[in-house]
């Protein structure tokens, strides 16, 4: 399996974000989303591994009129896997979760992760109680990712992406600055 190009996928997906709010999991997903174009409506995590989904869930509950998209990695998602059950219990209709699954801990030196072997993230999400789950691994399937914006949430999608080799593109890293810029953009500061 070669896998999809994560930068292309993210730049296509975010080009269609409209007024969606985006929360990114630490490391590569943050760099991908920043590379696609910076926005005050994107909140980049640089740490708090395992908390991308809980953070996006809190935001989705606070802003029910806005679509919220969480973009994270398979390693990050595995660390916070229980949070999928919390999402299922809360049923946020405005939340979409996309895992860029390269089967590895790319950011830390490409160590093999669980999804390279036996673990199926979409099945875990379904087991947690998220009704709409999908996995895309071919360019021809990428249109299905529109469900992250359009289908009643919560929606959980896995994109099988290549390990790839992309330049580091680093957003602002001061959390106080990022969070205040985000809140100001929403008009809640």
């Amino acid at each position: 399996m070669n896998g999809l190009d994560r930068r292309e996928l993210i730049s296509e997906l975010l080009a269609r974000r409209g007024d969606a709010l985006v929360v990114t999991g630490l490391g590569s997903p943050s760099w991908d989303c920043f590379a696609a174009g910076d926005s005050a409506a994107t909140f980049y995590l640089w740490g708090a591994m395992g908390l991308a989904v809980p953070t996006a869930l809190g935001l989705a509950l606070a802003q029910p009129e806005r679509r919220v998209l969480c973009v994270t990695g398979d390693g990050e998602m595995m660390m916070g896997i229980g949070s999928l059950a919390v999402v299922a219990a809360q049923q946020p209709a405005n939340l979409g979760i996309l895992v860029l699954d390269n089967g590895h801990f790319g950011e830390t030196g490409r160590q093999e992760g669980m999804t390279s072997a036996r673990t199926d993230l979409a099945a875990m999400a379904a087991g947690a109680g998220i009704a709409t789950t999908l996995t895309v691994s071919e360019p021809s399937e990428m249109a299905q990712l529109a469900a992250l914006y359009d289908a009643p949430g919560p929606v959980f999608a896995v994109a099988k992406v290549a390990l790839g080799d992309h330049p580091l593109t680093l957003p602002e890293r001061d959390g106080a600055t990022l969070s205040r810029r985000f809140r100001a953009g929403l008009g809640v500061a």
Partner: protein, 182 residues
């Protein structure tokens, strides 16, 4: 109040839980995230029965820190209610509070101190305050029931007005010692 199969907790929560709930409501705290504890039973029941309060049951307490970050990013107030053992689960997550300089209000019911029967509760119960302080959380200890409501209210104001992480740690003496007697 009965806790099926695990013993009982003397129902000491009646006054302070109502006061905490009222203080919460008065401050617009609309979400309570929790992994339950016996000492929180009454408060959690009050939250569950209230249409204006969303109770979010977590699988592990650190999720609550992320949830509070997301709520705050979206302009809403929440709090995390947990047993002292849960503070240990939150340690790395609390980096979020320090880095974002966000308000983070936590209500902790203590175990492992006053007359504890279960030795497994003692290490984290005794280490909870040091662990929280190591991560920059301002801790208020309270073990006199009449002071819990006002302490919680002051902690909430501190957290939201000064955008800091604050934990109210309710001593086991005030909650009542869990008895495993049948």
């Amino acid at each position: 109040m009965a806790e099926t199969g695990t013993g009982t907790i003397t129902d000491a929560g009646t006054d302070w839980s109502d006061e905490v709930f009222a203080a919460m409501r008065a401050r617009g705290i609309g979400t309570v995230a929790t992994v339950p504890d016996g000492g929180l039973t009454r408060l959690l029941n009050l939250c569950a029965a209230d249409n204006a309060t969303r109770l979010v049951t977590l699988t592990t307490e650190e999720e609550g820190i992320g949830l509070l970050a997301g709520l705050w990013l979206g302009g809403k107030r929440g709090m995390l209610a947990m047993q002292s053992s849960g503070t240990g689960n939150c340690i790395n997550a609390l980096s979020l509070c320090a880095t974002l300089k966000m308000p983070c209000l936590m209500l902790v019911t203590m175990r492992g101190q006053w007359g504890e029967f279960n030795p497994w509760q003692v290490p984290m119960g005794q280490g909870a305050r040091a662990a929280m302080e190591a991560m920059g959380v301002i801790c208020f200890d309270v073990d006199e029931r009449p002071r819990i409501g006002e302490t919680f209210a002051a902690a909430a104001d501190l957290a939201f007005d000064s955008s800091v992480a604050v934990a109210v740690m309710i001593g086991q003496r005030a909650i009542g010692t869990k008895s495993f007697a049948k």
